[in-house]
Symmetry: C2
């Protein structure tokens, strides 16, 4: 075998000897030690981007790259997860009166959600139907004490009489404002049609005063936010209220989900929608925070740019800052500088998110990450999670896919 | 409560009435039906990108977006997963003689890998140490029959005498070529130092003739591929052999993993490394295929652009084509037009990948996807997988992270 080999290759020996692989045409090979700054040499598009599009050429040095860790919350009861109690869509977490506060959609109904065709005045169509805004406080962010209702459903026909849900908190000049989805019809087969309403209070403990007006109205019926304004998410930025929101549109056959921005000088409006809306092309629920001179955003679940953290230096024109995995759903982060009109946002390290589980109900959980300029936690900066074979097999082919594959093989064989 | 509310808001009523939210400054709202082509209006950076950076504004219409499904292979024994038998780093799958072929790293040693300090001439340092290239065939792509060795370790001091691993296949003018990592030292604490060798045959069943020469040499010691050329991956493109490869470099504290390209007019060289290398800034093992007029690539696991499918119209300058999740590890796809010098690649729908499991051994599995212009499988085009709360909690905080978090809360409370 050895002898045969030597003979067989003789014809190719010259070619191999002449190999000039290590002497590229116009520059020597890229350096062994990855330069921290963009090197002065011709770069491929990918290498150019590795230096221009990200905060660092390695993700572990990218302040807007993180993995996410999850912890079960203590102190909240879910009626043995029978679907009758839900807590979902948490607000940002704030720190006030020496403790943490979070607000969320709370549903407690006689049955789990029954769908838009079987719902009644007391039976919910969806998990966020017939809900109120409740809140909880915590000393440590892990154990939470539920404090009860903050925003009840107002009497018909006020906005939100059917359901108030998916709230977020603003602090502005010593007052607190809760923005929320104000349903006047139950979530239907068309989708979750609703605008945004607001209530305010002198203390995070309330009492909350509803304006009983729509504060962010839907767009015209032929516009992207004509039917829904979801997940209102206020931050103080450039001395104004930057309220980000999501809308579902198109719907053929699936919703397209994108995010917009409405800006106001006062928490009760008027809010002016940004002419460049949508300003985030993907994602699901809104999660944003001041970062350096701009605004960073979680872009989760849906769209071409799902699974990314994005950054807009101007709060409007977002670019991908990192690509990650297992992002928190509907995250409400603790944003220490959400309302300080900071000129240089420091980022976030934790918050509350949700997970929709059995019997159509949801629960709150805690997430942690390192997206903060103040923290350096290498345990959050691994490049990926690893999973067992069984986990992959759980993502298996459907019967109709097996049939397609068998057909393709038969065709290839000329059968 | 209701009465108090009405009185309290009177001061804000005018502001609310004046809200001009649905009348943006210089253009009406974005349309309700997502335009299939870029609309003629001012767009945010994100919307501009949604039309320019992706093949479609919705991922489900993006021919280079897919989820991945996994199936356990039948027919391969792993000695009860005791770590003594491994199969990993599959080649591309080819169809020849009426059946599918795949080549892979095969290790069968008395013990599982023991690390670089405890390895011997018969005890492996790593999973790919003391390995040979074996192959298997299949009628359907799900059940595989192992055919035995294709490339044994050659006698010392020929390249690969310590281990031959991580092979890939080329068909060129009726002959077959297997490229592989040719270890002359065991994988050490420094890393996997090796160049690339090649063997050739008239049939995929062999016999294989080794050239016993290095065909893609490492770069200079101060260059990015100075120590390792991993995962050689040949395609026929523009009438030449485009061989993509990965290298590990820097190494402080972790390897940076990027990918390069070497081009030749003949399978045995000379291969000329591309002057713009590295041409992919992230990823781990190489997986590429002709797509339309260019080349598409899986970018997995590592780096700023992990979890992406990328595309280079010229085979060199790669851009992100989609962001996805649970990508196959070390995928060797079935690429029907890998060697046809196609002017318009059709893409891929399946292949073999690996998973490293208990006791440091690996197994082969099948993946399916829809990254093909010839297939339209909506079941592959969902936007994301959903997981239970328990799955999130498995990604939990370490004790030292809990301590950091407790310290931060104490600091916030002024304790």
């Amino acid at each position: 075998m050895k002898k045969k080999t030597s003979l067989s290759v003789s014809g190719f020996a010259l070619a191999v000897l002449l190999c000039s692989c290590s002497a590229p045409k116009d520059q020597s090979g890229f350096p062994l030690i990855l330069p921290k700054e963009k090197p002065g040499r011709k770069l491929s598009a990918a290498m150019e981007r590795n230096y221009s599009a990200y905060m660092a050429p390695r993700p572990e040095h990218n302040e807007l790259y993180s993995q996410f860790k999850y912890t079960e919350l203590k102190g909240l009861d879910y009626s043995n997860h029978d679907g009758t109690i839900t807590r979902r869509d948490p607000s940002k977490v704030i720190f006030a009166n020496g403790k943490y506060y979070v607000w969320y959609t709370h549903r407690h109904t006689p049955t789990p959600p029954q769908g838009p065709e079987r719902c009644t005045d007391t039976i919910p169509a969806r998990d966020w139907d017939l809900s109120e805004i409740w809140y909880a406080t915590s000393e440590d962010g892990f154990t939470w004490e539920e404090q009860g209702v903050a925003i009840p459903r107002p009497p018909k026909p006020n906005p939100g009489w059917r359901s108030v849900s998916t709230t977020d908190i603003l602090e502005w000049k010593g007052k607190y404002y809760l923005y929320y989805q104000a349903f006047q019809i139950h979530p239907s087969k068309r989708g979750d049609d609703c605008p945004v309403a607001v209530s305010y209070a002198d203390s995070p403990d309330g009492p909350w005063t509803p304006t009983n007006k729509i504060v962010i109205p839907n767009g015209a019926k032929d516009e992207w936010d004509g039917y829904s304004i979801h997940d209102p998410y206020p931050l103080v930025y450039k001395g104004k209220i930057y309220l980000y929101y999501k809308s579902d549109f198109d719907g053929d056959p699936r919703w397209v989900r994108m995010q917009g921005l409405a800006i106001a000088d006062h928490p009760l409006g008027p809010f002016k929608k940004h002419p460049l809306n949508p300003i985030i092309n993907s994602g699901h629920e809104t999660t944003l925070f001041p970062f350096k001179e701009g605004i960073a955003a979680f872009v989760i679940k849906d769209g071409n740019e799902h699974f990314t953290v994005q950054y807009a230096r101007d709060g409007v024109n977002f670019e991908i800052a990192s690509i990650t995995e297992l992002m928190p759903i509907a995250a409400g982060p603790f944003v220490p500088d959400a309302f300080t009109n900071t000129q240089f946002g420091k980022g976030i390290t934790w918050g509350i998110c949700h997970n929709t589980w059995v019997k159509g109900h949801s629960l709150l959980m805690r997430f942690d990450c390192d997206l903060s300029l103040d923290v350096n936690d290498p345990l959050m900066k691994a490049h990926r999670y690893s999973y067992k074979p069984e986990f992959y097999y759980e993502h298996g082919l459907k019967k109709e896919q097996r049939k397609r594959i068998e057909d393709e093989t038969r065709k290839l064989k000329g059968e």
